[in-house]
């Protein structure tokens, strides 16, 4: 059986590019704080979502709508409306994180399939089975902190489908629980849909290099010939106690294409590509590559070697937590 590839679309053009490049499924969000990629110039109006779903369905692809931030007290209606509008648009599922919103969706839109967002940080079978029992969740997007054996252990104890990230920006934190962006900017992916919002990011060319600043703090300084630094605290470079280095790992991007056979063996249903903030060129190139990889896997052929590093944040890649080699 072919593993499903779930591809990002920040714009209608990226959605069309992903579908044309062979995406089985595309995920996207509305242009507001209800999704975790609430970036300037990105996302879909209600009309664009309906049109995008029509286009995807006409080409045999599915559309998932991410409504994966946590509703603000007193403003829950914005999130509820997003769920209702997803069903109206004909979306194949919504990706939710907040238990209250999951409950609302299960009660009021029972026919709309519910996936659990990575933002819920559900990292063991007990909590995943709870979400399935309580809210009828059919699929969980697993956090990017699990190894392949841990994913296999989860799949052995649940009937809920699992979806794992295989390419793109690598969030090394327990998603949905990270406050680093809030600390520096007052805004977070969990509540506002923005990690290190662009409005608080500044790059400054200096005489001998480039500084990345977040919320007024310099978080990384690179030399003239080094890749531009990534503007998040978790990937910043700091000096303390006489030592200079990155806190968690060098700012590399996830690329687990060579682990597809192991992930299939571990019982994973779908492979997720991160990058709704990336261009249609990126989306198409990555999707084409991964479609070839899952088709090869299903046919029992070797996974083709990818050429995706030039598209990666930091221009370098890692297999991340799947093979835990970081410090």
């Amino acid at each position: 059986m072919v593993m499903e590839i779930v591809c990002p679309a920040g714009t209608p053009a990226a959605l069309r590019a992903a579908v044309k490049a062979g995406a089985h499924t595309v995920y996207c969000g509305f242009a507001d704080e209800t999704n975790a990629r609430n970036f300037p110039g990105l996302n879909f109006s209600r009309e664009e979502m309906q049109e995008g779903v029509r286009f995807a369905h006409a080409h045999g692809a599915k559309v998932l709508v991410a409504i994966n931030t946590y509703p603000r007290a007193g403003a829950e209606e914005i999130w509820r409306q997003a769920v209702a509008d997803s069903e109206t648009a004909g979306a194949d599922a919504v990706i939710l994180a907040d238990p209250g919103l999951l409950d609302y969706a299960a009660r009021n839109h029972p026919d709309l399939r519910r996936h659990l967002s990575v933002q819920a940080a559900a990292a063991n079978a007990d909590i995943i089975n709870f979400y399935a029992r309580a809210f009828g969740v059919k699929r969980v997007v697993l956090p990017r902190v699990l190894s392949v054996p841990e994913i296999a252990a989860i799949n052995a104890e649940t009937d809920v489908e699992t979806e794992v990230f295989v390419f793109g920006g690598l969030c090394v934190m327990a998603e949905g629980r990270c406050s680093l962006s809030s600390y520096a900017t007052g805004k977070s992916p969990n509540m506002n849909g923005v990690c290190s919002p662009a409005s608080h990011v500044e790059y400054r060319e200096t005489g001998d290099g480039l500084d990345a600043r977040l919320g007024g703090y310099t978080i990384h300084r690179v030399g003239r010939d080094e890749p531009a630094p990534y503007p998040t605290l978790c990937k910043g470079c700091f000096t303390a106690g006489g030592k200079t280095g990155h806190l968690f790992e060098d700012p590399v991007s996830l690329n687990a294409e060579q682990l597809i056979p192991q992930l299939a063996k571990a019982g994973v249903t779908a492979l997720k590509i991160e990058g709704r903030q990336r261009s249609r060129s990126y989306v198409a190139q990555v999707v084409r590559n991964f479609r070839a990889a899952v088709d090869a896997q299903a046919a029992g052929q070797p996974i083709p070697q990818g050429m995706l590093a030039s598209l990666s944040e930091g221009q370098a890649t890692t297999t991340g937590a799947y093979k835990k080699t970081w410090r």
Partner: protein, 180 residues
């Protein structure tokens, strides 16, 4: 872990240097006409700019002896070509080919930024909005120029194809099968 790098062609100095002597007013006028035609054909681009639809962008093709001041003005854009200085909310700098490749979807903006082929200074959010809006618009400068050229459209297309081939600069939307 591995590393690769996309090579971005630059305008040869032999071509760029004479432009330093050329009068800028006719170039501004042509780019203005062109930008307004693009605005007419792609109104969604300006909607997508949102709160940044009135920002000022300094586009700095580092291999040419001038900079371009782009003011979207909510859908009634104004383009001014200036010698090396201009004030704006955001400055985006890089080889001309990087800008054109970005517009036509041949290059990815983040990849160009992280590889330092493109430099962004000033209002990062405005620059990001512009990049995302342009990426969604699926622009094709060759087609836009051909539409404005009336009976000269066919020879113009030939010149554009020849220029693309000779200089490696992307002046039109690449066919998807070939691009990716």
């Amino acid at each position: 872990m591995n590393e690769t790098h996309v090579s971005i062609p630059e305008v040869p100095p032999l071509l760029a240097r004479p432009m330093a002597l050329a009068p800028l007013a006719p170039l501004s006028l042509s780019l203005n006409t062109f930008a307004r035609a693009v605005a007419r054909n792609h109104p969604g681009l300006f909607r997508r700019l949102g709160e940044h639809a009135h920002a000022k962008f300094v586009l700095d093709p580092t291999d040419l002896p001038f900079v371009i001041l782009l003011e979207p003005r909510g859908g009634a854009p104004k383009v001014t070509v200036r010698r090396r200085s201009a004030q704006g909310d955001a400055r985006i700098a890089g080889p001309l080919a990087a800008f054109l490749g970005l517009v036509h979807g041949a290059y990815d903006g983040d990849a160009l930024f992280f590889s330092r082929d493109l430099v962004i200074e000033g209002d990062t959010a405005a620059a990001l909005a512009l990049r995302n809006a342009i990426d969604d618009a699926e622009l094709d400068f060759a087609e836009e120029a051909a539409r404005l050229s009336g009976p000269f459209a066919a020879p113009l297309r030939r010149i554009i194809t020849l220029t693309e081939r000779r200089m490696g600069i992307c002046l039109s939307r690449p066919p998807e099968e070939l691009a990716w």
